[in-house]
Symmetry: C2
């Protein structure tokens, strides 16, 4: 933080598990601090504050409204069930709070559009809670994908995120309740795969999504596992698979005409202190076809004590600081557009599932 950089004040709206990690990140970010926490119950908010080392002067609120009415808060962080996003993110924007919204950002694109419109109308910054895109590794991987000599033109991307949710999760977690998050594994785990695909594709939207028949629905109709292929007009293609039903697994493979990027921990790196990825360029088999030359190279990125979620908070606080210094004209619209494209693809995949795995055009 430069000496003149202001400390941005975050208010945490809700005590979901993920809020613990984000609280730690706000505490660690040099340009941010936790100014308040709110829950529907004062006791729950107070217990959260104690358990998560919130600063002694952080305010404790027994309702989301009261937090949003506090003029000493810059950013509202919303780790709420997806179906509540529309109401609370919109209200936060109307109360002139910048909005850091957990993913999936909404149930539908139409809902997200209302949230984004409220943010724009009120001159506040919007960002979703996808942490890995802020990891310094991601910038290094971007350099590789943008290198025409080492990577060439992007051809195809394959991505996966599954984890074996315990029975209690499959029964009671908000992510499998149709009234709280009807997107289920698609919105939760699939969000990351789709985002990674869009990231690799420079956020160019595919034209078509086709869900695979690997879809598993709960008795209540919530998606527990699914996958899809995505197709661009220029011939690029991608696949992803997501599931609550199989062991924790990630992969991201982006293949160009000249090179390949591969990693198996793109969402949460195996280790906090450093992260790696594999690149290969102009690889071929050796003359006897008994090995590769050159083989892939592992690139390691140290993170210098600033894990990806702290980078995310730091970037949000930096953007808000600029707006506070220079006015609403400084709002960075790109973050909202990236959330929107991710949501567009998710919704197209869901529609493909609902219509019997037919191709769905992405508007």
């Amino acid at each position: 933080m430069s000496p003149s950089e202001p400390t941005i004040r975050f208010g945490i709206m809700g005590c979901a598990d993920i809020a613990r990690k984000v609280s730690r990140a706000i505490n660690l970010a040099p340009n941010a601090r936790i100014a308040a926490v709110a829950s529907r119950s004062l006791e729950k908010a107070a217990a959260f504050a104690r358990a998560n080392n919130l600063p002694a002067d952080a305010k404790i609120y027994g309702s989301y409204e009261s937090l949003l009415d506090d003029p000493d808060i810059d950013v509202a962080y919303l780790p709420l069930p997806t179906t509540l996003h529309l109401k609370w993110a919109t209200l936060a924007a109307q109360k002139k709070k910048h909005v850091l919204l957990e993913k999936p950002v909404a149930v539908t694109v139409a809902e997200l559009d209302q949230i984004l419109a409220a943010c724009e109308a009120n001159g506040v910054q919007f960002m979703d809670g996808t942490m890995w895109v802020h990891h310094p590794r991601t910038a290094k991987m971007r350099e590789f994908l943008d290198d025409k000599h080492r990577f060439g033109e992007l051809g195809t991307i394959h991505s996966c995120f599954t984890f074996a949710a315990p029975d209690s999760f499959l029964k009671d977690n908000i992510r499998v309740k149709p009234d709280l998050d009807s997107l289920g594994a698609l919105g939760d785990a699939g969000w990351y795969g789709v985002r990674a695909i869009l990231w690799a594709a420079g956020y160019h939207l595919p034209k078509t999504a086709v869900a695979t028949r690997a879809t598993v629905l709960s008795e209540q109709g919530v998606i527990l596992a699914c996958g899809a292929s995505l197709h661009w007009e220029d011939g690029k293609s991608a696949t992803f698979h997501c599931s609550f039903l199989t062991h924790m697994t990630m992969f991201l493979t982006a293949i160009g005409t000249q090179g390949t990027l591969q990693l198996n921990d793109f969402i949460i790196p195996f280790e906090e202190h450093e992260a790696s990825f594999s690149t290969a360029s102009q690889a071929r088999f050796n003359d006897q076809v008994t090995g590769w030359e050159p083989g892939p190279v592992t690139e390691v990125v140290a993170i210098d004590g600033v894990p990806q979620e702290v980078c995310m908070i730091g970037e949000m606080a930096r953007l808000v600081g600029e707006i506070k210094a220079s006015g609403a004209g400084k709002v960075e619209m790109e973050w909202g557009m990236r959330s929107r494209k991710t949501q567009q693809v998710l919704n197209a995949v869901k529609e493909s599932i609902e219509k019997g795995f037919v191709p769905v055009q992405i508007a």
Copy 2:
């Protein structure tokens, strides 16, 4: 080789690139030797023998027929274009030669069935030329997949093999000529992905194949890139992608309820002298969701100077030795069945492409 193990005599029918690697393997296998090479031209066969260190007493034939008429040959190795397999593999079996057939083994399942029937009727062993299944690493990976504690029940498999073929290949190689190999990338690169999926699934056939719309056809209608999802009756699913159009890339990810197997060089290991794969079991995020515990483990398998293609030749020679010692009742039918299941899936994917990416039942 035990002292009593006979040396099995191989005849090489055709001088394709892959025959160089297999010749070296036969030279290296302790229980096998090259007894003859045949080409449609005597000069070509002689040049091949000189260039590939064939034994001085190896016979040189100017026609495939003459090699098959030689009583001093046990195994015919056929690295011929796919459309020629039916004629020559059938004739080899009729001439009582055991058959080592390059992949894809046939253009259709019906053709393969004729080849397998000829082998059975003549009491000769059949094996296809898929080398990686013979690598000692594959046996180690099998142990992991069979471990109910470490891996659990198989849920989903994802596989990929692409390489960027040079323009000359895309114009002239036999694998893009409709009269020589109409399966194109599906038969060549896709063969490995499908085989890996079947291997992971214990060779249980999926019920349905659905090609993705990522199919690219040449002007002559040969498949240059494609992919598909496969679906089993018990809910298991798999995807694969194959292409001649993007950079050399492999991956195989098999996900169970308790563990995950991942490797990025399953067909040809990066290095000849050793090979590795990654396993993870009961992995989860740490309490702060900032890393994995436990993370995946890399298992390294040294190959002790016997690369996978030598293992393949050794296994074929061992089986043939047993038959020579004990009679045709010792023919191992499993290898033919594995080839057949691979071919069944390939043909279903091709049919799905031809019918507009509809689901195709696998008989």
